[in-house]
Symmetry: C2
Subunit: 377 residues, 2 copies
């Protein structure tokens, strides 16, 4: 059986990137290491669509999120949290640990926070220092309208801080043009690397706030990363083999072109949604994003058992819902290196397993609908 990874992080990593990871370890303070970090930083700026330096942290994505909070907010300062799922809740956990004065705009799982909700919260709280949002809410498949959020927040003194961990690279995100002040992402999603690195961009507006804020971390002090990066260096011993491998995957993204990458994700996501819908299944997200497709488990079907069968019988590893959502949804990633034919295969496998379990469907309906949508110009 061939194992196939469709979890919304980690995602599959290109073979040439994996081979880079097997190369002998080198010193992280050499001229060669600095040249590599310099290249990676340039390529990250391209992926983020920003002219500001993008900092590389050795941590999970959550470490990057914590850096965003610890650097931009003093204890007791007001923050608006926009939450539509588990990853909005991750912001809440960090913000509470850092004693933010929280105003929460919350929508049920599956729904998206609207620009109007943000506009209202910001009008009611003119003393807000920062707004925390999620680009792709991976727990539900919802994508947020960061372009609209950016327009709204830019009119205020507040910063817009974005968890772009599973969205960046998989859906349009223009850091500078959309006026996103801090954007965090991780290596293990559309950037086609194993987990272990977080990347953080900071706007000029955000640097001003950071420099006026007492720092509450040493390891996550972004000023140290900025200073080191001015010499193409890192403040602490980084996961340098991951950085070298990130260069390889970023070259692949550069070669494809960021707009082509977004378009490819959009096309595969549209085909996947068409396939899923043609099977008689429902999409869970009211505003689905292009990083992953989240499917509502139909009545009478055991969600978790179906995923186990998919993996055991056909090698396809999709993700279950998290926490309370377990057994309620299926999450299928089409980020990064995953291509259309692999997603087509996943639809086929899902058809087979559902058909076998007695769920009413027309074999071939899903893959045909996928193909029809994908063939469109």
């Amino acid at each position: 059986m061939k194992p196939r990874l469709f979890t919304p992080g980690p995602t599959t990593v290109p073979e040439e990137t994996l081979l880079e990871l097997a190369r002998p370890v080198t010193y992280h303070r050499s001229a060669e290491a600095k040249a590599i970090l310099g290249e990676v930083t340039e390529d990250l700026k391209y992926v983020f669509q920003t002219s500001q330096p993008v900092m590389t942290l050795t941590s999970s994505g959550t470490g990057g999120m914590e850096a965003a909070v610890a650097n931009t907010l003093a204890a007791g300062e007001k923050a608006i949290l926009l939450t539509a799922g588990r990853w909005g809740e991750r912001w809440r956990g960090i913000l509470k640990a850092f004693q933010a004065n929280l105003v929460v705009v919350e929508v049920p799982y599956g729904k998206a926070v609207t620009p109007e909700m943000l506009e209202k919260a910001l009008a009611e709280n003119p003393d807000t220092k920062a707004v925390f949002a999620t680009l792709s809410e991976t727990s539900t498949g919802v994508g947020h309208d960061l372009e609209a959020f950016g327009r709204i927040v830019a009119k205020s003194p507040a910063l817009l801080v974005v968890d772009g961990i599973s969205g960046l690279g998989a859906m349009e995100c223009r850091t500078d043009a959309w006026q996103l002040d801090v954007v965090v992402t991780g290596s293990q999603k559309a950037l086609m690397l194993p987990p272990g690195l977080a990347f953080v961009s900071v706007s000029e507006k955000a640097w001003k706030k950071i420099e006026a804020t007492p720092i509450r971390s040493f390891y996550l002090d972004l000023r140290r990363y900025k200073k080191a990066l001015a010499e193409s260096d890192t403040p602490f011993t980084p996961a340098n083999t991951l950085i070298k491998a990130q260069r390889v995957s970023l070259k692949r993204i550069r070669a494809e072109g960021i707009e082509n990458l977004w378009a490819r994700h959009a096309k595969i996501a549209a085909a996947c949604r068409a396939g899923v819908t043609a099977l008689g299944l429902k999409l869970f997200a009211e505003r689905p994003n292009n990083a992953l497709t989240v499917i509502t488990v139909p009545a009478g079907v055991d969600g978790s058992a179906t995923l186990k069968k998919l993996e055991k019988q056909h090698g396809f590893k999709l993700a279950d819902g998290q926490d309370n959502m377990k057994g309620q949804i299926w999450r299928l990633s089409h980020m990064g290196y995953t291509d259309a034919f692999e997603v087509l295969g996943a639809i086929a496998a899902l058809e087979l397993v559902l058909h076998e379990s007695g769920f009413k469907l027309e074999p071939g309906a899903g893959v045909a609908a996928f193909q029809r949508e994908y063939a469109k110009k």
Copy 2:
């Protein structure tokens, strides 16, 4: 030319570990992933010589050090810092960022903090909550007597918190028997992995203090790691390919046996010191440790230029002094996978380069002295 890494982190990584890194990425919440983390944790307990769970963090060693500070100390609480070099200064930086009330016991670079100094500081500051020490001060080559420190601190209510980043595995360190309350290490030293993971052990005494201390981090909240580890899991998406590869290197350590590993490092370090001394060179550390040998650059020799020649002509990459020590010392690591014959080669290369530059020495004196010492029973 064959590149040879002798920097005191990163160190060379066994081939079978590198190959593990090139394997396809898998999901980090699977039963297989949990079984791997469970094995790694057991093997880390063996390396640390502790019965307490050892937590795996995705971060640089400094992230592990910050976890130790953020979890054990409330703002304003008194801490004694024992510092003998740059890595003691790293503790100082973190402790200041976390507003510790600092009592500093400082010795010049090259010297070691003595148990008597600690005893005096602790007697004068009975309200001390924690003592911060360094096992191997990699910036100078000094090793500290943690066994004695442990005996002294155990008599007080304070915790003993140890940076074991470059020492653990390379020199005797018995976490439980020596009563070390928190021990931090990194993956890229004697544990034979690239950088990217930090490991932290916590004694029962330290857990009591942690549970009574308001947490000042979310990502580095050790209580979250402990809770997740009870189910062989991690609280945040970990660098799971590094964890899988760590398992491979830990199996190698298990097969060698921890006491044999310490003895091997001791034997190679003694031979290295004999070789260096026979060349007419001086050791920089008054209490040298077995992880690395630090050599004082002799008068009339350009320290940094010699290292460049060593690398360019013979492929040997040693480390220069850091900050103010640049050009003053050479740092040669013999940690982890590096064996006696490779260190012998480094002595030979150093002989050649020094001889060529006009430094007075008898070619062969260094390698012969190395060999004589190494051949001893």
